[in-house]
Subunit: 304 residues, 2 copies
């Protein structure tokens, strides 16, 4: 089993959807990612929280077997995000962002974290992503996420990161902005020519596409009767994806496809409840059952 | 090989997309449908055109082996539609609709059409769809399409149609309006409880979903480097779907899944050029090749 390192955010989220609202619940990209990945492998977490971060959340992460010796606690308040979703649940409207301790965050990698097999660079400033890359021995596989804010504002630093990563995981709006084209096949050609070997484009309720030099893989999202809160779906997807890759060490096209389906499965559970609540009571048998359902969902017979 | 009957529109389309524009080109739901279906089976066509409909289009349809003895020619002008697409090619903005001879169209089924194996009721007034159903011996499989205009304006007549059909083929916006819910799984449950055995939801560039009592099937759209004009994609999908079903007579879940992929393949070709131009020079070998590519696109290994 490979060691997986993630750097990202730990947050308090206040979220309203047509199906309810929650205040200051556990959130953040590194939280969703590491919790999802912990179903498959050991995870080392790098993030920062403030003095207001309660012991119960620490205990939850520890309980998932996540190594939190890289979770820095600083004076000040924890990062806070407030968002709202309409009935069309695919995109959040951000109502408020308070960076707090995240504003001056400089990831420091503990010595025993410096030799990961896989590394996930969550959505933070591309300069910090580069900084993390410089602090570790080159992992077997590096993946990263980003967002429009950095694509627009730190384009050059971002391309420097992308030259060094194996997998870029972004949503379709971000992909179009990065590639400056509305056609995702052209965006993929452009992006793959400049860095990452694999481009994974998340499309929310519409599923996911993966492009690499030789192959394209497409999968729908798992159709759900109840989507309560899409917050964290992308990070949960990435966690399931990287967690499964860490567990198998199979980075072939077939291995990546399976990992994408595991990521989709984890995301499909996560959106069934607010915060990480569905992942709290999920067991691995349910994950495998839904993977098999996913196979039945997408299977059709080839021509003879 | 089963006989397939389609009723729908034949039109002149004026279309502008970011990749070009065309004026008064061949279009209409029955045109796209029957041309796509003609790659798989014999098609009987019911539609109406005006005195302005040129011989070259008649010859094209005949050349595809389509029986056009049900193509009524009336005094007046042919139905005209004018639309425009932005870079986000998923939805057209209708600029002008001139019903012309379609306004007083009452489908009359020639005697030798009255015993079809499969029937597709294209997007026309639900009362006319009922009228067509009453004029034929109950086919082995009936599918229909509709649109928001009828869902809003002739809801009761539409439900009467849906009670009598096996497959409803609509897009996701229409599905949400029909089921009065934003969640497609709930829409499917509601719809299937009231009539059709299978609900197929077209999602444009995001692919397609099929729901029936026992199964759900999901497939992405084929990723294309060039989408020039999405006009007619939905009808081309339906034509490939029904044409393949007519050719095999296999209406099992597995048969329907394969037919959906053939429909997706035909639609993926159609959007590569304006009007039906890509279908004009397409041969069946290319259809099979893309079907196999579609299998590679979506395949992943199941758990052992």
């Amino acid at each position: 089993m490979g060691k997986l390192l993630v750097v990202g955010s730990v947050a308090f989220d206040t979220v309203k959807t047509p199906f309810g609202e929650v205040e200051d619940v556990l959130g953040g990209s590194a939280t969703y990612f590491s919790t999802a990945a912990s179903f498959f492998t050991e995870v080392d977490l790098i993030a920062v929280v403030g003095e207001d971060f309660p012991e119960q959340h620490i205990e939850f992460l520890k309980g998932r077997g996540i190594d939190i010796s890289g979770l820095e606690r600083r004076s000040g308040k924890t990062f806070r995000w407030k968002g709202e979703y309409s009935y069309q649940l695919n995109e959040a409207q951000t109502l408020d962002t308070q960076l707090n301790v995240l504003e001056t965050f400089r990831p420091k990698i503990p010595d025993h974290y410096r030799n990961p097999d896989l590394l996930f660079l969550g959505n933070i400033d591309p300069e910090l992503q580069l900084d993390v890359l410089n602090q570790v021995k080159r992992p077997k596989l590096v993946a990263c996420d980003t967002m429009n804010f950095w694509i627009g504002g730190k384009r050059e630093a971002l391309w420097k990161v992308l030259e060094k990563v194996d997998v870029l995981v972004i949503n379709d709006g971000e992909a179009r902005e990065l590639g400056q084209d509305s056609n995702l096949v052209k965006v993929a050609q452009e992006t793959l020519a400049r860095g990452p070997k694999h481009l994974i484009i998340k499309r929310g309720e519409y599923g996911v596409l993966m492009f690499n030099e030789k192959h394209t893989f497409g999968a729908p999202a798992f159709p759900l009767e109840m989507v309560k809160d899409p917050t964290g779906a992308g990070d949960t997807f990435a966690g399931g994806f990287m967690g499964h890759l860490a567990a198998t060490g199979d980075f072939s096209d077939a291995g990546l496809r399976r990992a994408i389906v595991f990521g989709s499965v984890m995301a499909s559970f996560n959106v069934e409840a607010f915060s990480l609540d569905r992942l709290r009571d999920l067991d691995y048998k349910e994950v495998e059952t839904r993977f098999r359902e996913f196979k039945r969902l997408t299977h059709f017979e080839d021509l003879s």
